[in-house]
Amino acid sequence: MHNLTIAELIKGLQSKEFSSVELTQHFLNRIGSLNPAYNAVITVTAEQALKAAAEADMRLAAGNAPALCGVPILHKDIFCTNGVRTSCGSKMLDNFIPPYNATVVENFEQAGAVVLGKTNMDEFAMGSSNETSFYGPVKNPWATDCVPGGSSGGSAAAVAARLAPGATATDTGGSIRQPAALCGISGIKPTYGRVSRWGMVAFASSLDQGGPMARTAEDCALLLNCMASYDDKDSTCIDREVPDYTATLDGSVKGLRIGVPKEYFSEGLDAGIEKAVRAALANLEAQGAELVEISLPNSGLSVPAYYVIAPAEASANLSRFDGSRYGYRCEDPKDLQDMYSRSRSEGFGKEVQRRILIGTYCLSAGYYDAYYGKAQQVRKLIQQDFDRAFESVDLIMGPTCPSPAFKFGAKSDDPVAMYLEDIYTVATNLAGLPGMSIPCGMADNKPVGLQIIGTYFDEARMLNVAHQYQQATDWHDLAPEGVAS
């Protein structure tokens, strides 16, 4: 059952080939036996899952069950789950049990999906390797001495290892696409404002966006149908009808204009990755798409701008973790100041502290204009680059990341090298555009991701092209050793 896609699972559930309880138990068993090797899942909610599965079976039996009824999924531990610990990968929230659901969690609950548990992640979503989690690193199922990417590394590894057919994730600078690429799965970060941020622990509010991960584009479409919604509890959520993303998957790519930014194929790109991505582009060209070389001249500025704006917003967003109302509080604080400083020094990991300091610095009197102000100007330039590009192309494609999964520790002592992991992904967050990664080959025996960038609210077209590519290729069907059996 674990090799079936969500689309296939839905058919199986609705035709009563298997029950949701059987399916749920099967995945719970897999988590029990395989997860210790990957550390992808940090909270398992077996009892609740089986109860939800039994209810889903009743709804399925009664007919008229919603699309995802009975389908098991995992939530990234950044989404608040009522009554279930939501740690955000941090010691700070190790004891935090929210009394409310994130809208995303609520949406899946309404749709009858069964939540198996919560996935590991970089602490407060700050990281590109999942090495910053308080719960220890996640291992890449393709090579357990390598990172799965981050910050949604737990969700990506869980889907790759078939511990769940799909998972929720979030993307602030590439946190869906980069781990999807490194783990050989599909993932989409929708347009900013498409998915509600209510109940999603904030990292950088103007960049954060939730999205689904699954093995195929079709499964991503099924999950996004449920995940995307207008939510009046999130002022930045956009009130716009959610199309049925599965309805347009079968359209032809003939005549589609694909922009290929020359800046994404320059120095620093792994040769194996370039080869795989070029091959994928050739495949789409063969299907009738037109490749157009384009330029995004300011893309080199996106990482520096991102690493000012994201930490600046984070420095304020994380101020609420002060040890006073919930979360970690240091032992025996001697006064208020001591409680603040020790709770935060002991509760936050190194990378989180680094980013709070960077952000605080960038916003400080005398530095604001040079850093935050300048970064906002760059952000506008990057948006304009994309606006110009989309005047002549329908989609933009290139590599998701510059190199395949790297070994643990390879970049963890060099923050700048780590930040460069995001070189192809952060620009879409800065512009608020949707971005996607799908598997398109192997390099060094590790998966390679093809990045698809669309214009605002063009998720349906991105999923359509990704699906057409997956109809013609089988990279998405490859499984890490020992996982498929």
């Binding site: 939501t86 994130a102 930045t236 006073s324």
Partner: protein
């Protein structure tokens, strides 16, 4: 050497919305601690603010009332600082683009002159919670009540256009009158609905250069504000005349001990690291919305003053005082309608009643003497049932809760004797009993006789236990003595 004083005010006005500025929790005053603080007010992870449209409308109404520019696009920013009553670790406020721009307020002074005070701007923001340092806490702890956290405020910032405490109080009263007339604030100063920060500096008379200013924060009554300004002006002059310099600092004034102390110096001032709040979209106000609010503005103090002069034939000054405060205006009109004597109603409302309320720090809305009761008292003064002196005694009785004016007059036997037969008898008795005084009167020069009348009046009033109508007695006495000549 003589000195000029320069004063600017920042006034925090709590808006009378039912719910908070960014959450649906109630703003009602006086609930049990933390019973009106929801997940958003507690800054739980993943929660997001949604702007209360009513708060925006109230702010615009204020702007219209002071003829200010209304920001068609205003924006919220985060003001970062750690304090336990600020649960997010930042206050959501406006800085660069406030909702209300430059405006003007005209104040009336006791000498009958008026003066324009310029408003620099007014912005929307959220109130903080309260720290409770007394109560059932372990000795090392303070309590936090977050009921007030998130209550909408407008902060009204004046230009430094006032030059003494009287002007500052007149300005504060005028603002109070405007916001209570608009119905956007309940005006309850004792509950913190309006709080004043006072910026004070002194400079040699006529000098163009402003002195260094201090800010005295959080004054919550006119009395405290007046005292704090006077004391601060004296202190600054003393310091300078002793050869010292004024330190730019923030001060706190304790109204009970009448002592101010330095809270923090300029060097200790926080760097608030303001930046645009990414969780809230800019507030866009259309011309139509503004026009609609303008159409529905209630009567404002200046218009009401003109109406009072016209309708009740009051002097400009009296009408100004009575119309300045919505509750006082309402009270005055109710007294007038109960007694049909606007002049006396005005005198008693502004005189005895206001003095007593001020002394006891009670707002007119909570006056122990109702408008109907005061109207009843005025009725008895107007129809000569009681003398002015007795009226004060009756007023005290009403204040003490002894009932209506008629009840008290009856119970205390205060009814004035106006029966001319009885009065003539009384005068005749006194003249008979004091023949020596009568002889003295007759033998005195005509020009000096008038002075002798007082002695007879005293004896007659004594004989009547103060109940004789003095005007009538005067008349009868003069007549009778004249007859003896």
């Amino acid at each position: 050497m003589s000195w000029d004083t320069v004063i600017g005010l920042e006034i925090h006005v709590q808006l009378a919305t039912k719910t908070k500025i960014f959450s649906g929790a109630s703003t009602a005053y006086g609930a049990e601690p933390n019973t009106q603080a929801c997940a958003i007010d507690l800054a739980m992870p993943g929660t997001l603010p949604v702007l209360n449209k009513q708060a925006v409308n109230y702010a615009i109404m204020f702007g219209l009332a002071i003829d200010a520019e209304i920001g068609q696009v205003s924006a919220f920013e985060r003001k970062n600082y750690f304090y336990p009553d600020s649960p997010k670790g930042y206050q959501t406020t406006q800085l660069e683009r406030p909702i209300v721009g430059r405006g003007n307020v005209e104040i009336q002074l006791a000498d009958g002159s008026s003066k324009n005070v310029r408003i620099h701007h007014a912005h929307l923001e959220e109130d903080a919670g309260k720290s409770l340092h007394e109560g059932n806490f372990n000795s090392n702890f303070s309590g936090i009540d977050l009921n007030r956290a998130g209550t909408p405020l407008i902060e009204i910032v004046s230009e430094p256009d006032m030059c003494n405490a009287e002007e500052a109080v007149a300005f504060a009263r005028k603002i109070h009158g405007i916001v209570t007339s608009l119905g956007i604030c309940d005006g309850e100063m004792s509950q913190g609905s309006m709080r004043f920060d006072v910026n004070v500096s002194v400079k040699p008379s006529g000098s163009e250069t402003l002195g260094i200013r201090t800010e005295t924060k959080n004054l919550n009554s006119y009395k405290f504000m007046e005292e704090a300004i006077k004391r601060e002006v004296e202190r600054q002059i003393d310091v300078i005349e002793d050869g010292g310099t004024i330190a730019q600092e923030t001060r706190l004034y304790n109204g009970d001990t009448k002592v101010a102390r330095s809270m923090r110096s300029k060097e200790e001032a926080n760097d608030y690291r303001y930046f645009p709040c990414p969780d809230l979209l800019p507030v866009v106000v259309s011309d139509e919305e503004v026009a609609e609010l303008r159409r529905n503005l209630p009567e404002l103090p200046d218009a009401r003053q003109a109406r009072f002069v016209e309708q009740y034939s009051l002097s400009d000054y009296d009408a100004g005082i009575l119309s300045s405060d919505a509750a006082m205006a309402k009270y005055f009109e109710a007294v007038t309608s109960a007694c049909n004597n606007a002049k006396l109603a005005a005198n008693w409302t502004m005189g005895e009643l206001s003095a007593r309320l001020n002394n006891e720090d009670i707002s007119i809305a909570n006056s122990p003497v109702s408008a109907e009761q005061l109207g009843g008292l005025v009725t008895r003064i107007a129809d000569n049932s009681i003398s002015g002196k007795m009226a004060k005694e009756v007023f005290e009785g009403i204040w003490a809760g002894e009932g209506s004016a008629d009840d008290i007059i009856e119970a205390r036997g205060l009814k004035q004797v106006s029966d001319s037969g009885a009065l003539e008898q009384m005068v005749a008795d006194v003249l008979t009993a004091n023949q020596a005084m009568v002889d003295d009167y007759i033998s005195t020069d005509e020009a000096k006789r008038k002075k002798k009348l007082g002695g007879f009046m005293g004896k007659i009033m004594q004989a009547s236990k103060g109940q004789a109508n003095p005007q009538q007695v005067n008349q009868i006495l003069a007549q009778k003595l004249n007859d003896l000549l």
